[in-house]
């Protein structure tokens, strides 16, 4: 998704002529939507599998984006540094107004999710059931898609096009280990994301290392901790449980053998 947004952002820039978050957002949403349609078309009408279809569409879109980007760099001269930073990410170059936009987005995001929480939950877990009880599935899917695209476009400035997908996946995956409930998973994922953001930014200030990668490394460390030590689904607790089971089983067998003898 982050890759597919690139040509949209470039075209929006070409049409509009300057850096503007809202225009970029619309462009990215359009090209993201076109990419999804292309993927579904290829999967439906040919024997190519979904993973290859995703690979084809995303890499070709990204190539197109790079072509447009080099075109812009040559023809618009003065503005190029702005759009480059935008794509490769530099949290330190964020200005006050950017932070305002980020805050507004975060609040919109949270309220939208709170309002539609029940509906999102149903269409995520059981789409057929949702359709059956009359939930507007495709509309809500569109809303969800729009939320994802806006998060991606806004997050691009902070961590760059490549690492954006990590921020989407890793905290959520880490949260999955701690809970079975969607509500908790959501808050936990948000908390993990915030935690790694703060930690990454702080270390990057001290050590003069780019912020984006550090944030990702922190998120991955959180994931590894959850993977190993989460109370119920973690690897360690699973091993301990298996060990206890094996011991009780062996004790039972020994006891039985003793009785028989």
């Amino acid at each position: 998704m982050a890759h597919a947004a690139l040509p949209g952002i470039c075209i929006a820039f070409l049409l509009y002529g300057q850096k503007s978050l809202l225009v970029f957002l619309i462009g990215a949403a359009c090209s993201g939507y076109i990419a999804t349609v292309c993927i579904q078309f290829i999967v439906k009408h040919t024997r190519i599998k979904e993973d290859a279809a995703i690979g084809i569409v995303l890499s070709v879109f990204f190539g197109l984006g790079i072509v447009l980007l080099t075109w812009i760099n040559q023809h618009e001269g003065g503005n190029q540094s702005g759009i480059n930073d935008f794509l490769f990410g530099k949290a330190a170059s964020l200005t006050g107004s950017d932070v305002n936009v980020l805050t507004v987005t975060a609040i919109t995001m949270i309220t939208t999710i709170l309002v539609f929480f029940k509906e999102f939950k149903i269409i995520t877990f059981d789409r057929a059931f949702a359709q059956g009880i009359g939930v507007p599935v495709s509309l809500l899917n569109g809303v969800l898609m729009f939320l994802i695209v806006s998060v991606v476009v806004i997050g691009l400035q902070a961590v760059g096009v490549v690492l954006m997908s990590a921020l989407l996946i890793t905290p959520a995956l880490a949260a999955r280990y701690w809970t079975e409930k969607l509500e908790w998973m959501m808050w936990l994922a948000g908390g993990f994301g915030a935690l790694s953001g703060v930690a990454g930014a702080y270390i990057s200030l001290i050590a003069y290392v780019p912020t984006g990668p550090l944030v990702i490394i922190f998120a991955t460390m959180l994931f590894i901790c959850s993977f190993l030590f989460a109370p119920k689904r973690g690897l360690c607790s699973k091993m301990i449980r298996r060990y206890i089971q094996r011991r009780t089983l062996r004790a039972k067998q020994l006891y039985k053998r003793g009785e028989q003898a």
Binding site: H3, I42, H45, T46, R47, I48, K49, D51, A52, A53, I54, G55, I56, L58, S59, V60, F62, G63, L64, G65, I66, V67, L68, L69, T70, W71, Q74, N84, F88, V162, L163, S165, A166, I169, T170, L173, V209, P210, G212, P213, L214, I216, I217, T220, F223, F227, R233, L235
Partner: protein
Amino acid sequence: MSYTIWILFTAALVGINCGLVGTFLVLRKMSMLSDAISHSVLLGIVGAYMVSHQLQGVSMLIGALLVGLLTTFLVQLLHQKGVQSDAAIGVVFTCLFAIGVVLISLFADRVHLDVEHALMGEIAFVPWDVLEVGGKSIGSKAVWLLGFVLAINIFVIVFAYKELKISSFDSEMAVTLGIPVVFIHYVLMGMLSLTTVASFDSVGAILVVAMLIVPSATAYLWTDRLSVMLICSALIGVLSSVIGYMGATAFNVSISGAIAVATGVLFFISLWIAPKHGLLRKWLKKSPA
């Protein structure tokens, strides 16, 4: 040889290498793994530099090979422990890539390697980076590296053709026949890592993915035979590099980006006109006039 011919030659070699390896990726439904390895290879290159203090040739290949296998291993480990396969790939490669970027920025003042270059590649500089043996230049370094990897790839494919074929199409049958399926998987991932790192300098990490998947998928539309598909996808790779290069010079844009777009255009055309699986043919069949 002139400047243009060197670039075209390099791009064509990238096309052949990627076409051969990509065929197996598409058939085995592992396209996303190529995305992962093309990113995490960056860490291998940085690691190789830190150990050997040079950026060329064998040390780079070894570093990339190790990290590629590490990626495969970690993905499989997480997958076995119950993480969804695509999520496992996503976590592993982004983390390794992030470590690579941090290491680059820590040593940025001494290494000629920046993130933008790694992502987009710069094929236009290939002809000037020549290999010298005994003070005489014998051609571009990238071409030698790609040629070397091509030799390995062809050797493995010819040598283990039957094993690769059976394990790609029917892995359960391969297991019962006693073919070491897991070993073949790692061999293939090793080939993928070598191909990626050799193509890295010319077309960049992300566009390697386009060269790996798109020509192979296009070939998959044209034929049902593995041997034909291998040759087809190599040819399509070469064709799209030529078209892409001409387009790039005509509009003065990024060469690697234009090549990726060219693969997409060829795919789109094949989608319609391919003899057996093309859309036109299917629609004609559905409504006989």
